[in-house]
Amino acid sequence: MLDFLQHLDRRWIFLLMFIAVAVPLIMGTTFPEVPSDQVMAVFEAVDNLPDGSNVVMALDYDPASQGELQPMASAFTRHCAIKKHNIYFMTLWPQGISMIQNSIGILQDEYPETYKGKYGTKYVNLGFRAGNEGVIKLVVEDLKKSYSTDIHGTNLDNIPLTKNLKNIQQVDLLCNVSAGYPGSQEWVLYGSSPFDIPTVVGCTGVQAPIMLPYIPDQLTGMLAAIKGAAEYEQAIINAYPELESNPNAKEGLVRMGPQLVAHLLLISLILLGNVIYIWERKQGLHQ
């Protein structure tokens, strides 16, 4: 048996992983989530702002990370929409423009009374600018030097939301969803830390440990990986039960089913691999 496992074709492991993720997804298995303190810090940062506050939504991710980050971005958007906040969308990733479109779709389809036909007065799409941290340096000091127009080519001086906005130090909150460089770390380095801009981030599992040391002094809160997204969705549903009936508001919660089975599979594989290793050592194969 161990001999068979030792020479197991890796494609069988791939198949197991596929089944571990696919079956719970098809079955729609979900589990109850209890929001952690860290997630509640993010929730409160958005929720405690007075209705109609100004929020910058920096969506720095691409389709490659959409599976992990779209639930967070959607949850941030819904939460801001419930609070009727004014939203400034921007991205440091060229592929992030479509990610912004997804969030604007949520505003228009789910909250038409607040946002439909209110472009420029309730939300604005600044789009992408090249330069990574160079863009952050400019938007925190002189926004219009980097963004003279929005994504549609409209002059920012002709848009009510941006007319009097000199830089994003004037906004009430910065929400960042990030898949890597440039992203959360750069926003803290060049934005939230030197200029004390209240900031919350949602980031990938890879980035989560890197961002931890900034909390709470330089960063208000963080949603870490898909688990953070699921807990945040649950926190919003707990506070605004009308979302309970919206399946789109549970994207992250639905993903926790496959997450459980796949984690168990991975732990089993690690343990099995170590059993084989110990057996090989006993056989003297590692001398």
Partner: protein, 242 residues
């Protein structure tokens, strides 16, 4: 000319930007420098495209193995470039309909949007989705408890993997919500896997990452100074460059 001028350019730019933190007058100069920096970053995308073109053409002209795929790359590149720059299928901006090119280049139902939505998105997302399979195979073949350090790493990984899913409730949810040793402030339930994983993240992972961050910060500062003072000139390449 080849080496001295770049050294001056780099030192002046760098010290002006450092000066923005201390001298108010430098802030405007710094912002101008950042605006130029961002423009150069945009031109770097063009340079990247140009390099790709050069390499693929070399591959095709030398008929190297797989040159057919290089041709496919070039066709995809030119089609994307054309539909994006010409704004194929894009309606004008509603406020300025008489200006045919005033529409958003990534407008829904435009050809460029179609390429992004139905070709770029699935390809890039699936490329990264493959990693889930390879990480499972690597876990089976390479993640071995060979010594104390590897064993610690393995145990912590297992605790976090369990603690971040509902498995933590199944396995340790039964731990009672009662104090250990009277009024000690610590409960049995504090040892359930979810709490344990949070304690590990807050105390140990944060501590380790903080030390790494401090080390990196010192490294970045010293490297930056070496570059600005001209001690490190590796970015200038060799003297043999034509």
């Amino acid at each position: 000319m080849k080496r001295t001028v770049p050294l001056f350019i780099s030192a002046i730019t760098g010290f002006v930007l450092i000066g923005t933190a201390f001298i108010p007058k430098f802030v405007d100069w710094g912002n101008d420098a950042m605006a130029w920096f961002n423009l150069l970053a945009a031109f770097a995308f063009i340079l990247g495209g140009g390099n790709l073109l050069k390499m693929q053409l070399q591959k095709i002209s030398a008929q190297q193995p797989g040159w057919g795929y290089a041709a496919v790359t070039l066709i995809a590149f030119f089609v994307t470039l054309f539909v994006g720059l010409v704004k194929v299928g894009v309606h004008p901006n509603v406020k300025f309909p008489e200006f045919a090119w005033s529409g958003d280049y990534l407008q829904e139902d435009g050809a460029f949007w179609w390429l992004f939505e139905y070709i770029f998105t699935p390809l890039s997302a699936t490329m990264f989705a493959l990693l889930a399979f390879y990480i499972s195979s690597a876990a089976f073949r390479a993640f071995r408890a060979k010594n104390t350090e590897a064993t610690i790493l393995l145990i912590i990984a297992v605790i976090i993997l369990l603690g971040r899913t509902y498995a933590s409730v199944w396995l340790t949810g039964w731990l009672p919500d009662e104090f250990i040793l009277g009024d000690s402030g610590i409960k049995y339930s504090d040892f359930n896997l979810q709490n344990l994983s949070e304690v590990i993240m807050e105390n140990f992972t944060t501590a380790g990452m903080r030390a790494i961050k401090i080390g990196i910060a010192l490294g970045v500062a010293s490297t930056s100074l070496k570059v600005l003072l001209g001690v490190d000139r590796s970015y200038l390449g060799s003297d043999q460059e034509v």
